[in-house]
């Protein structure tokens, strides 16, 4: 077995276990998240001088981040990435790690630790950090004769169990997960991601009953079911079936669920056996006082194995607080440090289901105030509990935007807004304003355009009275746009709240005072087929506006397909010449390479063109194709003709690339033909005009090698011919994991669903609004109800709308290359400067 965080073969560490060493002996039992953190905290306080430290861990590995086992099981994280302290780390820190050695008993009178390898280790201070183990309910058939678990049955606590389950996913088809708490839900989702059919059995009447109210639990149940996980509530599993390997589970009500993998996530129990055998006081956990001391003055307990003031915690934050306080006490940094309990907060790490809870979930006293906002259809349930004007609990389901603010309010006990609704609904939470005031004047607000807070304040002082005016003046927020909210806050702060309402904020483009729906209606009503006709009919005084032209040109293409009057001056230069302008006025040329698949013949042609036109740089793009950079404008038509390949639309507000992975044709993990589906998607949706660029990817399994989870549209093969379709993902200026829209049973269904989603987005998104803003703005549930469930009866229209655009597709290179659209379309714009100015590699 591979040791996680292990040392390369042949490296040994010298330990100075010398009777002459004057330092006190600190022994830690348990090399988990609490034990290792304690060692770190002690060393940080200079404890290396005071203590000879020995750590026992019965796992052979270094210390790893147990929380991350969920993403590891889901295939979203690699086990190497979750190592916190490797064996090397201990060696470098002079800490003696006894990995793979289990402690059996402590003689507290002689102050000696006895371990399973027969060793006896003396200590001056002993810390128990033995954590918890999975609780396996005593169900018939779950164990074999020798007391071990029936093969195919797993707890979910360690990396070894996670590895075993991962290995099993390729053999198994159906899983049952026992337990509908955090761990069970995360396990269920992870296994489902590997293509298994998953049944979740929960003995309580609602999911996450320890953290959620019944109402919230019901909302969660809907969201989980929507992911495709079958949930069975309020029922016990009475028997595990199977001889030699699990075959199924029998439920109390007589139903039988077949499975070849069973995960038991029915809670954890503190590891107290060492403490019990050593005669320490143990109730549910090892009982400790406010200094984490057991009833023996030299023995301490921290983390999940400790019981403090009646509470045993199952989360990492309290364990880390324990480690801090105990390190203060042991090193004498603060000999009076005390621990007074933790307020706990949890987050469910399941894609597509956002759950965050903190403090209490329901009112406990008559005087407690409660505020609940529940929208079960959208999967949203928000609630707060307020006691004596202080926040004592919050539950956020389906919308966790307020989590940071509420966490702060709970932790710091800050004053709450009079209108309690502000706690849950964004009417500005006041937090950023404080942040803005504290920002130094030279701190950069807009990184794209290098605009500082001071520059924004200067613009306000010079009389810019609205956010729009400040943005025009400074260009803050005009790059990637991700800083817009901050720019607004700085402007408001600088103007002391005296900011003119920006009516233009709701307009589709600044020069026509209409929001998108009204604008589209007016275009249809007046039959406006050109950008200048739109200005003439709808702009104030019929006045043209340069900055509105590109958005209008795009919208007209979406509304009319090919039936419009094209005006070249309405187009941005990139669209005029079908290439992307570079800093020196040259252009880049990216030929289409569907799904990232090319041929030797294509490569040869690209190479020949690059040589013939002295292209200064040939580069493989992040979009799986090849970019010819620094092409002279006047060479564009000839370059296209020689390439003989269609445009890849690398410049357009349109569908761009569909990235793919090698999929089932070649990859040993491939569950389906992702390459072909990617090519089919690109073929069908190539060049389609949209409010902003659309990037797609298709992957052959949830390892996600082509990054489908972070694309506007991402498609993931999950086996048995099924495909998950994610929407609203991005990994540019904004990083957002896409939301699971639906799981469908064939490539044809993927094409239909993607077409519907694209058309819905094209019709409803604002100009330049990427799907990562659009989907959360509209709400996933809404999108799903329209494009999956046809709740508004519009699917046929969406299908027809996107089909119209598909039929209207022509390759712009094939067209304008032969016959310029306007005189001088490809005439150099900077004739005298030696080009290119970009350094040639």
């Amino acid at each position: 077995m591979r040791v996680l965080g292990g040392r390369p073969e042949g490296l040994t560490s010298l330990s100075m276990d010398d009777e002459l060493d004057p330092r006190a002996r600190l022994v830690v039992v348990g090399n988990g998240m609490a034990g290792a953190r304690l060692v770190e905290e002690v060393l940080e306080r200079g404890g290396g001088e005071q203590f000879r430290i020995t750590v026992f861990g019965d796992e052979p590995h270094g210390n790893y981040n147990r929380i991350m086992l969920s993403p590891v099981l889901a295939g979203e994280a690699h086990e190497d990435d979750i190592v916190l302290n490797s064996h090397d780390w201990y060696a470098d820190a002079g800490v003696h790690l006894r990995a793979g050695v289990r402690v059996e008993r402590v003689d507290t009178a002689a102050k000696v630790v006895y371990a399973a390898d027969g060793s006896a280790t003396a200590y001056d201070h002993l810390v128990l950090a033995t954590g918890s183990h999975s609780f396996i309910p005593p169900t018939a058939g779950v164990r074999t004769g020798d007391g071990g678990l029936l093969p195919g049955v797993y707890g979910f606590r360690t990396i070894d169990e996670t590895r075993a389950m991962l290995a099993a996913t390729s053999r198994c088809r159906r899983a049952v997960v026992m337990g509908g708490g955090l761990l069970g839900l995360e396990a269920a989702r992870a296994l489902q991601g590997h293509g298994l059919e998953v049944d979740l059995v929960h003995a309580m009447p609602w999911l996450m009953n320890a953290q959620l109210s019944r109402e919230a639990g019901a909302v969660l149940e809907r969201s989980v079911a929507a992911l495709g996980i079958t949930v069975h509530l309020d029922v016990l599993a009475t028997e595990v079936l199977g001889e030699g390997h699990v075959e199924g589970v029998l439920l109390q009500d007589g139903r039988r669920l077949d499975c070849d993998l069973l995960v038991v996530a029915a809670g954890v129990r503190p590891h107290t056996d060492v403490a019990v055998r050593s005669g320490l006081e143990v109730e549910r956990g090892v009982v400790v006082d406010d200094q984490l001391r057991t009833d023996d003055p030299d023995v301490y307990a921290i983390g999940e194995c400790a019981q403090h003031r009646g509470s045993v915690y199952g989360l990492v934050a309290p364990a880390w607080e324990h480690a801090r306080v105990l390190a203060d006490v042991l090193t004498g940094t603060d000999p009076t440090a005390e621990y007074h309990g933790s307020r706990t907060a949890t987050k469910l790490k399941v894609a597509g289901v956002d759950v965050a809870t903190m403090g209490v979930s329901t009112p406990e006293r008559d005087s407690d105030e409660v505020l609940v906002i529940s929208e079960p259809k959208r999967g949203v349930h928000l609630s707060v509990v307020v006691r004596d004007d202080r926040l004592v609990g919050a539950t956020l389901l389906g919308d966790t935007r307020k989590v940071a603010y509420l966490t702060q309010a709970l932790d710091r006990g800050t004053a709450l807004p009079e209108e309690r609704i502000r706690l849950l609904v964004d009417l500005s939470d006041g937090r950023e304003e404080v942040g803005v005031a504290d920002m130094p004047a030279d701190s950069q607000v807009c990184n794209c355009n290098g605009v500082t807070k001071g520059a924004i304040c200067g613009a306000v002082a010079d009389g810019c009275g609205s956010v729009g005016a400040v943005m025009d003046r400074t260009r803050a927020g005009k790059g990637c746009g991700s800083c817009k909210a901050l720019v607004e806050q700085v402007v408001e702060w600088a103007a002391d709240g005296d900011v003119a309402e920006d009516p233009a904020a709701s307009y589709y483009v600044p020069g026509v005072p209409l929001a998108k729906p009204a604008l589209v209606a007016a275009i249809r009503e007046h039959d406006l087929r050109s950008v200048s006709a739109v200005f003439a009919a709808l702009a104030p005084d019929g006045r043209e506006d340069a900055r509105s032209k590109m958005g209008l040109a795009s919208l007209l293409k979406t509304v009319w397909g090919t039936d419009l009057v094209r005006e070249k001056d309405a187009e941005f230069v990139n669209d005029r010449v079908h290439a992307n302008i570079q800093r020196d006025g040259t252009f880049s040329v990216v030929p289409q390479m569907k799904g990232g698949v090319t041929t030797p013949a294509q490569l040869r042609r690209i190479a020949e063109v690059a040589e013939k036109y002295e292209v200064p740089m040939v580069k493989v793009t992040g979009g799986q194709r090849i970019d010819l950079l620094g092409v002279r404008k006047e060479d564009l038509p000839a370059v296209w003709a020689d390439l003989g390949m269609p445009s890849g639309y690398a410049y357009g507000k349109s569908t761009r690339t569909v990235k793919t992975c090698v999929g089932s044709d070649f990859c040993r993990f491939g569950l389906d033909d992702s390459t072909q589906l990617g090519i089919d998607l690109e073929t069908r949706f190539q060049g389609i005009e949209s409010p902003a660029k659309i990037k797609m990817a298709v992957v052959g399994c949830p390892r996600n090698c082509a990054e489908a989870y972070v694309k506007d549209v991402g498609v993931v093969a999950v086996g048995s011919g099924r495909w998950e379709v994610y929407v609203g993902g991005a990994a540019g200026a904004t990083v957002r994991k896409g939301d699971l829209l639906a799981t469908v049973g064939s490539p044809a269904e993927v094409l239909t669903l993607v077409g519907r989603f694209l058309q819905y987005y094209r019709e409803h998104a604002n100009w330049l609004e990427r799907t990562y803003d659009f989907v959360p703005r509209v709400g996933l549930e809404r999108v799903r109800s329209v494009v999956v469930d046809d709740a508004e009866g519009t699917c046929a229209d969406l299908d027809a709308g996107v089909q119209r655009s598909i039929d209207a597709y022509t390759d712009p290179w094939g067209q304008d290359g032969r016959e310029p659209a306007t005189p001088g379309q490809f005439r150099a714009a900077l004739p005298l400067l030696p080009l290119p100015l970009v350094p040639v590699r």
């Binding site: 005009k478 506006d545 340069a546 900055r547 032209k549 941005f572 006025g585 714009a829 004739p831 005298l832």
Partner: protein, 128 residues
């Protein structure tokens, strides 16, 4: 006018100093016919060389002609590739706007140099 070759800017300049129809130009300023009017499509711009000076010529949708320096004062962007309306020219590189009236920028970068331009017998004549 058959001598006017507007295919490439370096060869496309004809000094109207040699033409009879030449209007009186102030001392030190010379007028150059750089193109036929229809070589600049409505709403768009094209770059030319007028007496050794690179200029960008624009024909707005209202028919008016404007000429500016060809390289953007901000970072040298090709202004002839920009977009226009009756008030401003917008550079394609970083989208700063420049007013036709006085060349000043709407976004706080240095102003543009403008050149007198007019139509003469179907030719675009720029004074530099």
């Amino acid at each position: 006018m058959s001598t006017v070759d507007t295919r490439t800017a370096d060869t496309g300049t004809v000094d109207t100093g040699t033409a009879d129809t030449r209007p009186a130009a102030p001392a030190g300023v010379r007028a150059h016919a750089v193109a036929r009017v229809e070589d600049v499509p409505p709403g768009e711009g094209r770059a030319f060389v007028a007496g050794g000076v690179q200029v960008a010529v624009f024909r707005l949708r209202d028919g008016s002609l404007h000429a500016t320096q060809a390289a953007c004062p901000h970072a040298g962007g090709p202004l002839a590739d920009g977009q226009t309306d009756p008030d401003v020219l917008v550079c394609p590189l970083h989208l700063y706007g420049f007013r036709w009236t006085d060349g000043s920028s709407t976004g706080g970068v240095p102003p543009l140099t403008r050149y007198p331009v007019r139509e003469l017998d179907g030719m675009v004549v720029v004074e530099t």
